[in-house]
């Protein structure tokens, strides 16, 4: 029986299940809990206002500086977009693995007579949206600040959008192509897991090389021989072959009224060529790669985790002990999870490198205020690192139970025991890390004994709270359907958690900074120091109260959510 080829479905038709599901999900979340929706809106708005406020102030200052100011604004935009580009590349590699090789709809789509180009474009669009929405949300207040400070006019949003769309497409095509290539090159067994490891490794190299470019030199014009050298560095593009530079140029050209069509041509031309090449590569490699990626099951056990660890946990009731052992086994046996420890190591390395390169103890006289400010900045950085680590390892804890939740919920396991096991399993390593980095970096900074005590106690309290926040937001916004653990922290709930965690950190630092600086100044300069004042004790008590409240309220909310969960 001969049959003519079926008419190809429209691209929009292929994407319909995705956008409809997203729409229904957002409607359900909205109607499920209005309070949660409002809280979310409030936190989001707070974060946006903060980012916008900082960007606005910095840009207004740049604008007031003759000649160098505009160059600095362009340079900063280029550096921000370059940093985003790294995030986008990693995010796209992780997302492409899911959308092109692991997603549940693939069996249906691959088995259907859908043309390769349409399939590629549909999946690429899905990858772009999934991997880029968070960067787009972060970029919005920054672009808005540029538009307002430089008076971009009513056409500016369209120009910014026209610059941003190809900027998002290019790393998506690159990430997708890299994933496709790796799936084909490596042996079928464990391709999925190897891929996560390789992607992480690639981003680590990019991050380290970016850090060793030492962008802080730009903030130290005295390090250059003369102003001409400094201006020359500012005028030279940081990365003339990267889309981040073209996007920054396109936006700045519009804002500074410079008629230069090249950045526009480069951006859109490169995006069009990249998509065409990506589609061609997809046509050649996808069928084999997809088939290989289905064969990734592993049989033999690595890391059985019995013996000493099991003996160490012997005093716990069997359900808690086996629960903890189960979580540890799943973590260390899943390469997509533990390989993220490499990212953590790099984040730490960059952080320590930053602290070491501060010119505080290079022999020059540094104002007292600056030293104290840097001590608090260090506390902020340590807190940020801990919040990011909790996002990677604590936030996904509930989501990872996923489809196996039937077993836990139908058994007599107390949800409280489950929550506590997950909380301490995440918090103890986090506390060790918090203490190590805080003590080490404060030692590098030569802080006083008092500041060391303040920093250590603050970071311990913050760690307890941020871990509880991560676990609770993970329970409030679970991602049970995900095939890829690395994608969980990049979800909407992950973003909300990060914003909440950073707001809490900012609040603690703002509360502590004034009284602690006053005390240190008093100790250093006063002839008869007053010692510990009631104000200082009050501030300490308030910080303890806030952190404990954040911990207890979060855990209670998380527990309530787990108890109410249905599926």
């Amino acid at each position: 029986m001969s049959r003519s080829l079926p008419v190809q479905p429209r691209l929009w038709t292929l994407l319909t299940p995705k956008w409809r599901s997203a729409l229904v999900r957002s409607r359900e979340e909205h109607t499920d809990s209005r309070a949660r929706f409002l809280l979310l809106g409030f936190i989001g708005l707070l974060f946006w206002v903060a980012v916008f406020g900082i960007a606005f102030r910095v840009l207004r200052y740049f604008r007031s500086v003759e000649e160098i100011g505009n160059l600095m604004a362009g340079k900063v935009l280029g550096v921000i977009l370059l940093a985003f580009l790294t995030i986008l590349l990693l995010s796209n590699i992780i997302t492409a693995l899911s959308t092109f090789f692991l997603a549940k709809d693939l069996d249906l789509l691959v088995a259907a007579p859908v043309g390769g180009v349409r399939f590629y474009l549909a999946k690429l669009a899905e990858t772009v949206v999934h991997s880029s929405w968070m960067v787009a949300l972060l970029a919005l207040p920054i672009f808005t600040a540029y538009g307002i400070v430089y008076k971009g006019g009513f056409l500016y949003p369209f120009v910014a959008l026209a610059a941003f769309i190809p900027y998002l497409i290019l790393p998506a095509v690159a990430g997708t192509a890299l994933t496709l290539f790796l799936v084909n090159v490596f042996p079928a067994r464990r391709t999925r897991e190897l891929l996560g490891l390789i992607a992480t490794g690639a981003v680590v190299i990019v991050l380290v090389s970016l850090r060793f470019l030492r962008p802080e030199q730009l903030a130290q014009p005295e390090g250059f021989r003369n102003l001409v050298d400094y201006l020359a560095v500012l005028r030279t593009p940081t990365s003339s072959f990267l889309p981040s530079e073209w996007t920054a140029s396109m936006v700045m050209n519009w804002l500074l009224r410079v008629a230069d069509p090249w950045p526009v041509a480069k951006l859109w031309g490169a995006a069009a060529v990249a998509v065409a090449l990506g589609a061609a590569l997809h046509g050649r490699l996808y069928a084999l790669g997809f088939s290989k990626a289905q064969e990734g099951a592993e049989r033999k056990v690595r890391r059985p985790l019995r013996g000493p660890l099991s003996r160490m946990l012997r005093s716990l009731p069997p359900s808690r002990r086996e629960f903890i052992l189960k979580d540890l086994r799943l973590f260390f046996r899943d390469n997509t999870q533990w390989s993220q420890l490499i990212l953590l190591a790099v984040l730490l390395m960059v952080y320590l490198f930053n602290i070491r390169s501060l010119p505080l103890h290079s022999g020059e006289r540094v104002p007292f205020r600056l030293v104290t400010m840097i001590s608090f900045l260090n506390l902020g950085l340590a807190g940020f690192v801990l919040a990011a680590v909790a996002a990677r390892f604590v936030f996904p804890a509930i989501s990872l139970e996923g489809r196996q939740m039937w077993l836990l919920r139908s058994s007599p396991l107390d949800p409280k025991a489950m929550l506590w096991s997950k909380y301490w399993l995440g918090t103890i390593p986090l506390l060790v890390l918090a203490l190590l980095i805080t003590i080490f970096t404060n030692w590098l900074l030569h802080v006083s004994g008092f500041m060391m005590v303040v920093a250590v106690s603050t970071i311990v309290l913050y760690t307890l709270a941020v871990s509880a926040l991560a676990l609770s937001f993970g329970a409030l916004y679970p991602q049970f359907g995900t095939e890829n653990a690395a994608q969980i922290p990049t979800s909407f709930g992950g973003l909300v958690y990060m914003m909440s965690g950073l707001c809490l950190l900012a609040l603690i630092i703002v509360l502590e900074a004034g009284p602690v600086t006053d005390y240190l100044r008093d100790q250093r300069y006063a002839e008869q120091p007053m010692g510990i004042t009631a104000g200082l004790v009050g501030t300490g008590a308030l910080v303890v109260l806030i952190c404990l409240a954040a911990t207890i309220v979060s855990l209670r909310l998380g527990l309530k959510r787990i108890e109410m969960m249905e599926w």
Binding site: F323, L330, W406, E566
Partner: protein
């Protein structure tokens, strides 16, 4: 025993389970049949304590599962319709974990795990990750998981899907012996021959309500179809596909 009283589950305006009353005493294997979307799985998930009823009560072994969930669940073995297990655990580790959830550990549990794996022909796969198991092997593993703590009541949703004929036969014998020793089994299945031969009593659910229940002769009596088998009784109660509809589909 299992007792459901006016059990109801609503999702917004949609009523998935509508005031179901049911009592399954000890020593009985009870079949819960119905077309797709009739409310069987929702009912079973409420009995297992995974879903909360909108109204009504569930008692397992005389204990209300929503008031004293831990005590009620300790008596229950639940086998869901889809065998989701932790991919990165071995079969033995999964069973050890399942036993620990019920507070059981030690040599007795290890012996029990070996027995169950042997019974279901999984011994050879004992120390291999479950991600390499077939659907049927996973199904057998979750059945073992439900039995590892020696429950009084088993609630099992579509147990035969994915099982080879030998395992299916084994499971039938296992459930029969379990109820003969005083246990209770509540089972849903679409394989009506299995229900007819295995179950002491059957309830047919349609649109979230029990439309008929009893033993085979009581069902025939309730539907005034004395000479018909379970399949015809079932189709009479739930509606079957008409011949002209099939013609339309196949001729298109």
């Amino acid at each position: 025993m299992i007792r459901l009283h006016q059990l109801t589950k609503r999702y917004g305006r949609f009523t998935a389970v509508d005031k179901i009353d049911l009592a399954v005493p000890s020593g009985e294997l009870f079949g819960f049949l119905g077309p797709n979307g009739a409310g069987k799985t929702t009912t079973f998930r409420m009995i297992a304590g995974i879903l909360r009823p909108t109204s009504g009560t569930v008692e397992v072994g005389g204990i209300d599962i929503n008031r004293r969930p831990l005590e009620a669940k300790a008596r229950l073995g639940f086998i869901p319709d889809r065998p989701f297990v932790y991919d990165k655990l071995t079969g033995a580790e999964f069973l050890r974990f399942a036993a620990a959830l019920y507070g059981q550990q030690g040599p007795t549990v290890e012996h029990r795990i070996d027995e169950l794996l042997e019974l279901f022909d999984l011994s050879r796969w004992k120390n291999e990750l479950t991600e390499s198991y077939s659907h049927g092997m996973r199904q057998k593993l979750i059945i073992s998981g439900a039995l590892v703590h020696r429950p009084e009541v088993i609630v099992v949703d579509e147990p035969m899907v994915g099982l080879d004929p030998r395992s299916a036969r084994l499971l039938k014998d296992l459930f029969r012996q379990f109820v003969d020793r005083g246990g209770t089994v509540l089972m849903s299945t679409h394989t009506l021959e299995v229900a007819e031969t295995m179950c002491d009593r059957i309830a047919i659910v349609h649109g979230g309500k029990i439309v008929a229940s009893g033993n085979m002769s009581e069902l025939q009596e309730q539907t005034s179809s004395e000479d018909l088998g379970l399949e015809d009784v079932f189709l009479k109660l739930t509606g079957g596909m008409r011949d002209h509809q099939l013609d339309t589909i196949l001729d298109a």
